[in-house]
Structure formats: structure tokens, C-alpha cells
């Protein structure tokens, strides 16, 4: 069984640009979660999608957004990038929603 896959592995952007991160959940999983792991701040909950709908979001500004596609894959978009957006972005999936989360290897976003 393939695990959660994320792309790209690394992403380098300039301040003010937009970044798009992608995630494919484990087959059969309908819930996708996004977390930000910034140095010194631990893992912070960003977004939760289930069955194509945004179900919950963490305490992040609106320039962090995303969507879930009919095949349950997901995209995280970060607009107007700031230096402090540099972090490891982890995607996880689960099904049903209250089962343990399975994480991908993350996308390392660097904003210069």
C-alpha cells in the first residue's frame, strides 16, 4: 500500500510569490490534513479537508488556503509569501476521520 505522497520535496520561493504544495492520501482515505512545522514552533494545525470540503482550519491568515479534489488529493496554496512561512509542511490522511493520521515526508518550503 502506497503511503501519503507529497510534492515537491523542496520548494524555494521569493518573498511575495505564491507556493503550491500537493498531497496524495493513502488509497481509501477521505480526510487530508495540513500541518506546518516551523523551527522552534513545533507542529501547527493548518487545515482539514474531508470529502472535498474544508472542515476546520487553524489559526493562520487567509493567504493560507487549499482544496481537496474529487480523488481526495489536496493542494495547499500560500499567497504573498513571507520569510516566516519557511517551514516543513506535512500532509496527513486518515479514514474515518477519528482514526490515526498517516503522514507524508513533507515539503520543505524556503522563502528568501
Amino acid at each position: 500500500e502506497a503511503g501519503v505522497t507529497q510534492s515537491p520535496t523542496h520548494l524555494i520561493k521569493t518573498r511575495g510569490q505564491q507556493a503550491t504544495l500537493r498531497c496524495s492520501p493513502i488509497s481509501g482515505h477521505t480526510s487530508v490534513y495540513w500541518y506546518q512545522q516551523a523551527l522552534g514552533l513545533g507542529l501547527q494545525f493548518l487545515l482539514w479537508y474531508d470529502e472535498g470540503e474544508e472542515r476546520n482550519r487553524g489559526n493562520f491568515p487567509p493567504r493560507f488556503s487549499g482544496r481537496q479534489f474529487p480523488n481526495y488529493s489536496s493542494e495547499l496554496n500560500v499567497n504573498a509569501l513571507e520569510l516566516e512561512d519557511s517551514a516543513l509542511y506535512l500532509c496527513a490522511s486518515s479514514s474515518p476521520y477519528n482514526s490515526p493520521l498517516h503522514f507524508g515526508n513533507g515539503t520543505r518550503l524556503t522563502v528568501t
Partner: protein
């Protein structure tokens, strides 16, 4: 608000020995889930063990076991017969009982295993 605290930023253990990682949490809920995740240098978060708060019995997964003290809001992880492959950052996490899809993570403990 729910919080998770890991008071040990770094721990070390000799190979084949036992080590205990500490975690405390704060919640007003009576039913919830607790997890320990491991993050090796590969970056992938790997589920080590889970505990449902309504279960009094401590969870065990091979060399990994927990000491769940609900009244004290404590959830420690014991690793027996430590192996070099256990070296990683370990995160304690709390999951709300309601349908929020949200995990609250502690700050993590870096475990070093010495040969």
C-alpha cells in the same frame, strides 16, 4: 485551551537500555485520544502508539508502552531494549474527541541512542 507539554527537549539512552519520555497535557474533556509519533531524519511522522482516554489499560506495541495517568494528565512513553533505529524526535499529541480533525502536538523530545 488544550495544551501538550514535553519538558525534555533532549534525552539519551544506551543501546539495549530503557528510556522514558514524559508528556503532560491539559484538557477539560473526559474523552479524547493521545498519541506518540516518531520523526526520524527522513522527516516522516510515524505513529508509535495510541491511547484512548476511556481505556484504563495502558497501550503496548512491542517494545513501546505508555503510562497513562488520566487524573494527573500524564502520558509517558517507555522504550525498552532501545535500538539505534529508535533515535529520532518524539512527539506527544492530543486529539479532540469531537470531529475537529485537529491534533495538538508537544514541542518534541530528541532521543539519542548511544551504541
Amino acid at each position: 485551551a488544550q495544551t501538550v507539554t514535553q519538558s525534555q527537549p533532549e534525552m539519551s539512552v544506551q543501546e539495549a537500555e530503557t528510556v522514558t519520555l514524559s508528556c503532560t497535557y491539559d484538557t477539560s474533556e473526559s474523552d479524547y485520544y493521545l498519541f506518540w509519533y516518531k520523526q526520524p531524519p527522513s522527516r516522516q511522522m510515524i505513529l508509535v502508539i495510541r491511547q484512548e482516554a476511556y481505556k484504563q489499560q495502558n497501550a503496548t506495541e512491542n517494545r513501546f508502552s505508555v503510562n497513562f495517568q488520566k487524573a494527573a494528565k500524564s502520558f509517558s512513553l517507555k522504550i525498552s531494549d532501545s535500538q539505534l533505529g529508535d533515535a529520532a524526535m518524539y512527539f506527544c499529541a492530543y486529539r479532540f474527541p469531537s470531529n475537529t480533525g485537529k491534533l495538538i502536538f508537544g514541542q518534541g523530545t530528541t532521543l539519542q541512542v548511544k551504541p
